[in-house]
Amino acid sequence: MTIYSESFFAAFNLLATADKDLVEILYLSINVSLLSLALSCFLGLPIGAILAIRQFPMRNLLVGIFNAMMGLPPVVVGLLVYLHLSRSGPFGWLGLLYTPEAMIIAQMILITPIIIALSCQVLEDLNEDYKDFFSSLVVPKRTALVAYIVDARYSLLTVVLAGFGRAISEVGAVIIVGGNIDHLTRVMTTAIALETSKGELELALALGFILLGISLAVNFFAQWLKATAKRRAYV
């Protein structure tokens, strides 16, 4: 049990002293995760909304594909992004491999299906509730789309936080396309993997505690948000 207490104090010490390396890793982790999340939401929320409120051929097939893609294996995504961004790949000329941008692309591919599938589910339920009223009012589709997103804002925030949770804790894809380069592409998860492989279990565990802390904070925030929205009858 001593390793846990020592690691816990090491984590506390790293945070308390604002360790330069830790701050850099934390900053990059959060930066990459937030950017990939923002881009995924920009793409995923409108697609989820369209799938939820419009009926068109192949719609059910698309919903099924996005649902299945929620479980995409990160290493496979990492490998595919690596193949496309490597020098001999179709996008090799961009020179993105082993950069934070490559990590953002990989995380986007992992998060976007989650945002699409979960937001589609949330908005589909709302559409059941609103569709007669909107049809009666002859509300234009675009207005309806915005109204759905506005009225489902609290539930959608939970979806967004789920996406963030996936992004911040992801390791398989970012280690392949980022390369875990010190001061350039090293994030929390890849640093943990590296320290473990070096046998620096105390430091790895300390970083793990910090990561766990971020995950818990995000989840508690999501829970609080949902409870507040429910109390105010906005969900």
Binding site: S136, L137, V150, A152, A233, Y234
Partner: protein, 244 residues
Amino acid sequence: MFNSHSTSKNHLAPILVDNISLELNNRLLINGISCQINAKGISVIMGPNGAGKSLFMRCLHGLATPNSGQIFYAEKPLSPDIQKQQSMVFQSPTILRRTVLANMLFVARQRGQLNPKTSIEYLAQVQLEHLAQHPARLLSGGEKQRLALARALITRPTILFLDEATSNLDPTSTETIEKNLQLVDQQGTKIILVTHDIGQAKRLADDVLFLNRGILTEHGPARSFFKSPASAAAKSYLAGQLVL
């Protein structure tokens, strides 16, 4: 007082229903209904459960499409433009997940009314102005229905549909809604109302359409309908007997 319902706006009348039928899941739910509905006043659609009253109203408003037959408003077939001049209050009102005032503003904006003062005025008319900033989904059943009515009226409809809008409401909320209906009726809005409440129909109706098993069995002035209904089904219904 609603100030926008002029007595001259009957440009959607007469409402002509030409032999409409609607079948769902191999069940004929509306069976060849033809009628002409008055340009003014309150028309009440009555009938036992499953008679097709709500479905008939949805057809009139364009929320359901008949398999055959057509509906004409002032000799024009039902279109989105005509639908925009109508409003409907549902039995279970859809309440947007916003404040009471935001619910009003959303509807008002759909008809180009941008002044929040107007929304407050309509809320005052249904005695809800003090709840303007309250989350709408936390209102009581009666308050939700009054909000739904205010939302419907702010669109200044030429025709107002109400589908059992006062069922499950207490007498006070029912009275508020009925008073408002009588007011907008006087101001020229055509009202078409589905109700099970015979007392309410007697209080409000100018003419009655009685449906049974998807067939319009009677359509005539309310006074003569309640005094001497022509069909056996209507007689039984008004006598409080089971209509099977």
